[in-house]
């Protein structure tokens, strides 16, 4: 529970819209309780800005419990900030120290253009999923749920890949802005399950091709993505994607 409140300096990226140039602005965050979440600290700063007749800092957020994948801030040079395994909304101010200067930027990637301040457009992720991130079954025309047993190990593995929240931190963390971790997690989920088997070749080719079209960079195995992923998505997914892709291409 709370110890002393802190005073912090924030350097925040401000950008009116997609067309304008952005720049850093400096703000003071006074009397910040260590019990606040990072976004609650931002709320307080925004209230001050509004009261002072200024435009508040726009940032994306919704669930504030680390599951919706909406929040997206690059804090002190790290996607989602300094604590491993948590999103910006789950980060608490007790991870910072009194007097610290905190730099806050949006995700930076060609495929994620800035819309305003810290808000970026991640619709490229949706389009990659539309390219093939599904099993083609219509509502109602399916067998009983227990008709096809799935080995527990496969189901658990599929779940681990499916835990991706689509936040885009992996892209932001990567010096090449590669989306491989995100795409490989989805490809892996289906590849591990019998339900996804039928379309696995088509799926991987289409999703990878859409990923390239969106302007994400290539993967050079730096593994920065895994280090910053709040859900612990493993780079073994990327290895699996590469195998899936190769196999699909060879038998095309």
């Amino acid at each position: 529970m709370s110890s002393e409140n802190m005073n912090l300096t924030l350097k925040v990226w401000r950008q009116r819209n997609g067309q304008s140039q952005g720049s850093f602005e400096t703000y003071q965050a006074k009397s910040v309780s260590p019990d606040m979440s990072f976004l609650e600290m931002m709320d307080v700063v925004n209230e001050d800005l509004i009261k002072g007749g200024k435009d508040p800092i726009a940032f994306d957020h919704d669930c504030r419990e680390g599951i919706c994948g909406t929040c997206s801030m690059y804090i002190n040079g790290r996607a989602h900030g300094p604590v491993k395994g948590v999103t910006a909304c789950q980060l608490h101010m007790r991870s910072f120290i009194d007097g610290e200067t905190i730099t806050i930027e949006p995700w930076r990637a060609t495929a994620f253009p800035v819309l305003k301040d810290l808000i970026v457009d991640r619709s490229a992720f949706d389009r990659i999923q539309q390219a093939g991130g599904f099993v083609s079954v219509n509502t109602g025309s399916v067998p009983d749920a227990n008709a096809i047993p799935v080995a527990k190990a496969c189901a658990d593995e599929a779940f681990n890949s499916a835990a991706c929240i689509g936040c885009g931190a992996c892209v932001a963390a990567c010096k090449n802005s590669s989306a491989m971790l995100f795409v490989s997690a989805k490809v892996s989920q289906y590849a591990m399950l019998p339900q996804g088997d039928v379309e696995r070749k088509d799926r991987v080719i289409k999703m990878v091709s859409q990923m390239d079209e969106e302007g994400f960079g290539t993967c050079t195995n730096t593994e920065a993505c895994e280090a910053e992923c709040p859900k612990g998505i493993s780079v073994t997914n990327i290895a699996r994607l590469n195998r899936e892709y190769l196999r699909a291409k060879l038998t095309e």
């Binding site: 529970m1 709370s2 309780s33 260590p34 019990d35 979440s37 609650e40 709320d43 307080v44 209230e47 800005l49 509004i50 009261k51 007749g53 200024k54 435009d55 508040p56 726009a58 957020h61 919704d62 669930c63 504030r64 419990e65 599951i67 919706c68 994948g69 909406t70 948590v86 007790r94 305003k116 808000i119 619709s123 949706d126 539309q130 991130g133 599904f134 099993v135 083609s136 079954v137 509502t139 109602g140 399916v142 067998p143 009983d144 749920a145 227990n146 096809i148 047993p149 799935v150 527990k152 189901a155 658990d156 599929a158 779940f159 499916a162 835990a163 929240i165 399950l193 339900q195 996804g196």
Partner: protein, 637 residues
Amino acid sequence: MTLDSKIPAGPLSEKWDNHKFKLKLVNPANKRKYDIIVVGTGLAGASAAASLAELGYNVKTFCFQDSPRRAHSIAAQGGINAAKNYRNDGDSVYRLFYDTIKGGDYRAREANVHRLAQVSVNIIDQCVAQGVPFAREYGGLLDNRSFGGAQVSRTFYAKGQTGQQLLLGAYSAMNRQIAEGKIKSYTRHEMLDVVLVDGQARGIIARDLVTGEIERHAGHAVLLCTGGYGNVFYLTTYARGSNGTAVWRAHKKGAYFGNPCFTQIHPTCIPVSGDHQSKLTLMSESLRNDGRIWVPKEKGDKRKPEAIPENERDYYLERIYPSFGNLVPRDIASRKAKEVCDEGRGVGSTGLAVYLDFADAIKRLGKDAVEAKYGNLFDMYKQITGEDPYQTPMRIYPAVHYTMGGLWVDYNLMTSVPGLYACGEANFSDHGANRLGASALMQGLADGYFVIPATLGDYLASVERKPISSDSPEFDAAEKAVKDGIEKLLSIKGNKTVHEFQRELGQIMWNHCGMARNEAGLKEGIEKIKQLRNEFWKDIHIPGTDQELNQNLEKAGRVADFLELGELMMVDALHRNESCGGHFREEFQTPEGEARRDDDNYTYVAAWEYKGEGQPEQLHKEKLDFESVTLTQRSYK
């Protein structure tokens, strides 16, 4: 207008099948001539949109987040019920129906609830086929867990992220239809009004939240799948963006509001830590299986929990309810926590918390076993509070979690406005006065995958197939009203922020229309809301313009609607002179302090009709007939 619930005749278990057979059909070649607008892409909206598109309709979807996948459904943790009886433990469609009706304290429609239980089995089949990675056993078959309010294991789950996995399944089905060109998805768009032409819903007015542009979208039917309105209380377990604007604006266009005061308050949430607090985090109900709830016997005892000896602790649930103990239903656990805190025995810096203690469980089972069961929840608690629940008891307090009330719909899920439908948490239909755990996900997907695809055609078959134009006086008027509303908000340029108003409203709602309600308190609350509303329209300050991404402007519109909806909730709570489920009126309790229903006078759905600004709403009663179950008083002693 009289309320016609359109409940089909015949025996309960045959109603749905008979009804489906009698519904008019749209021939496959004609389906593509209909445009359907689906507002909301949570479980209800995404499943409806995908299923309707698969049938051949042209669908447009809308959500205010940046992707359909981020709807609030994503946050559901525990699981989804279905009457599969895979455990061979005596479950059946009828038992799920019965548990749901009883859990809802006999304030839901039998026919709807039975249909829900019937289609629940198909939901699991559908999700598995989509590649939803449910938990499995070593034999490769699906695993189940048990949940509050049921004596069988019928809850399917995917770790603590069931909502996420189900939503991603529905989202993937949507994506397939987007790729096929059958769905057009509008993200970062907010619906601000329904457009009626000749009394029928024929489209919406939406704002592009990035550019600020006001758009018209026309269609042959409009589905509102916009979730619950619990954020009227401000501090809740809902996502921050969840709001009541869509349902409220539809209400003002003629859709009746069903049981607005029925709110669910979840007993185990992480308590408020200070004024900065922006939301409350749910701690799974499953913790009550092994945690013991207590407060000090003495008022104002400020010692650390470890320093309070056993004989100075009050394990009040175990004391009052020896047979159910810490596992009493949600509404009772919540109310009792409030009572001990009101007595001054609450703990933590605010005094608004009780202990949930695992010391005995750790002694009995060992730390490893407790960690295996609850490890992720303990970690989450530690991340938020900075305290280690292995060392010191958790502090918990109840928080608003779900709204059973919503737009009134008939058996076909159509509101009182022809062509306007409501699915998922946005409607009032299946949970009566209290929802059982793991039943909201079930209802959202039942509505979207199985009910609406069957019932919508019946309406469409009776309307003209030619495209609906948005170039009409009705659209002109609706668009103008929306623009005027925004301009009015921006022109006030007062001194208070949206956030301040939202917090004040939340306080009023919580104090006067929260876990326990009474006549005097509700009357006072209504006056306070009226005052706050006046102040809002005089003193709100919204920075920026309407021609840009403006989060304060978005929020201001939502708070303006909450300021009206909150009053209706109080009016409804005031009129219902009984206690049932989540609605506890202090005047109506048994000598032991339990809820006392009044079945003779209140076995009905309260459906409220909007009568114009400043006018009292008109109450319509839909009487509930119980043919299959006998009404009894709940007892957990």
